[in-house]
Assembly symmetry: C2
Homo-oligomer: 331 residues x 2
């Protein structure tokens, strides 16, 4: 077994959630019966936000529960969707009378279970809307398949929608803000080493000493290509160039940039990667209006990083800058 | 060379600082001439706070520059003290007319260079006080040596002193608050794998598959003993038990707990470790009044964690809870 700081591998997710509740009791509450993370003090009279999905992406999603972001997180097992019943309970728990926005990363199981939960919520007279986050550019053009995967843009969607809800927006207005961010955000990721599932002996896939996996997913999925190990600047360019091209960014564009560690990257590396991203965008005349640098959407202990770009205007920046108070994001 | 997300290993520190400035231009400014990280908007009419030391511990110290914490960070090369001249410039830059508190981790080079800088500041009519942070319990009892090392308690010292300065405290008052935290805080650390210096082939020391280094330092120093690899709960106990004993904690005590990743630990692991720390302290009747969980004081990509305990009362909690706005700590 690869050595990790865990007890029983099968209990890693629930123990981590317990640790989050014990560490941030003023922010979050862990309902072990329903397997939900709730705000310690439920919000009143606002649109509720619920998200969730497989675990192994910590601090996502439980770390984003709190004022200005989510009301409820629904965690599954590692890389496994929560059940429809669990999502149903989470959707109802997020409601304070103004309806609930479900924020769903585009994976078949998650989409199915959130859809069922949305239908069940209707039986309880709870209005729901769903926003699908499908930002992973590496999986673009898969017309016959499930479409693009959802990755780190979910942080931007949850932050922007959370702010809009906190400001009193209607369900339609909150959903519109979320969809705008989801529709216009794209992410590219790479790994120098795959993540290792708790209790496993080895990473999800092997890389040779001179290989980097480009276009990698956050569930141990292989990437779209293997490239030679290269400098941080060259690696950053492999992520930024396709994003800029796909989003049609150029002189005069303004973006939010999320430089996200995938679990095993350490802070010095992420700052160097962020420098590369800024320089590449700056050289193209693209303004980076805001940057988030850190470890937010992980694939266990994967050694790598992702770059997410979201075009922004003054309205979105106002929502991005609005106060937030969660275990993993604060300002 | 072990693969890291870097360009030139020799430029890793300065590039990371550039990345921090580019990512958080509203918070920090990187003065490349003087090799200082400054607040983007200098504070006025308050006691200045300057800290620094070797790099490789990111986000420390540059990540803690901003409102409510440091005014200036003085970064050295990886694991090497900044020069006395550099600290001198940093000390002067931190002054806004009310004097400067120097926060120094207890390493020979740092103490020497900050002492010289403090003396030089006097020639410029800038009052200084120095607080020494020497929290590493693993190096206790070294009466003939340099004394205990300074590790993660520096975050608590910088946060508390920063808040006291922001509230208008005099140099003596700010220094007293800092010294109280420094005097009463203790830390224990362990590693499952040592960190690897950028450009090196291997970690600073080797561990067998079943070994854990207990009492490890943050500069690649070996620990005080090797123990068998064990569960997260058992590892947490190895850190917590000596801290509780040394600090004389028991029923009715209240502490701030910092569960700090040393670079390579990923968020799921840190939450599980935090759970263990809370359960161990709770079982002894010790209240954990506040918890900080995350990657704050690293040893490059070392895979391990540290636990810092600081006894707190209502006054200290008020300072801890005061607003802070830095690249790495916000609320």
């Amino acid at each position: 077994m690869k050595r990790q700081i865990i007890n029983d591998p099968g209990a890693a997710v629930t123990e981590a959630l317990e640790g989050m509740e014990l560490s941030f009791p003023d922010l979050v509450s862990y309902d072990t019966d329903r397997q939900l993370i709730l705000r310690a003090t439920p919000a009143r009279d606002k649109v509720g936000l619920v998200s969730g999905g497989g675990s192994g992406h910590e601090p996502l999603h439980a770390g984003f529960v709190g004022r200005g972001m989510l009301d409820v997180a629904v965690p599954g097992a590692v890389f496994a969707s929560p059940t429809a019943l669990q999502v149903h309970e989470g959707t109802l728990a997020a409601d304070s009378g103004r309806g609930v926005l479900q924020i769903v990363k585009n994976y078949t199981g998650d989409v199915l279970n959130f859809t069922i939960a949305g239908e069940l919520a209707g039986d309880h007279a709870v209005d729901t809307e769903m926003v699908l986050v499908d930002d992973d550019l590496a999986t673009d053009g898969d017309a016959d398949g499930p479409g693009r995967r959802g990755t780190a843009a979910v942080v931007a969607v949850e932050k922007i929608a959370g702010a809009r809800a906190e400001l009193g927006g209607s369900l339609t207005e909150v959903a519109d803000a979320a969809r705008r961010v989801a529709r216009t955000s794209r992410t590219m990721s790479l790994a120098l080493q795959a993540g290792t599932h708790p209790g496993d002996d080895r990473p999800a896939f092997d890389l040779a000493d001179d290989e980097v996996e480009l276009g990698v997913g956050i569930h141990g999925e292989r990437g779209t290509s293997r490239v030679r190990y290269a400098s941080a600047d060259e690696l950053s360019e492999m992520l930024v160039t396709p994003l800029v091209r796909d989003l049609g960014l150029g002189r005069g564009s303004a973006v939010l940039a999320i430089v996200n560690g995938l679990g095993g990257a350490y802070p010095l590396e992420l700052s160097i990667a962020a420098r590369g991203v800024h320089r590449l965008l700056g050289a193209r005349g693209i303004t980076v209006a805001r940057t988030l640098v850190g470890t937010y959407v992980t694939s266990l202990d994967m050694h790598g990083f992702s770059v997410t770009l979201t075009p922004v205007d003054a309205d979105l920046l106002k929502l991005w800058d609005a106060p937030v108070r969660t275990p993993a994001l604060n300002w």
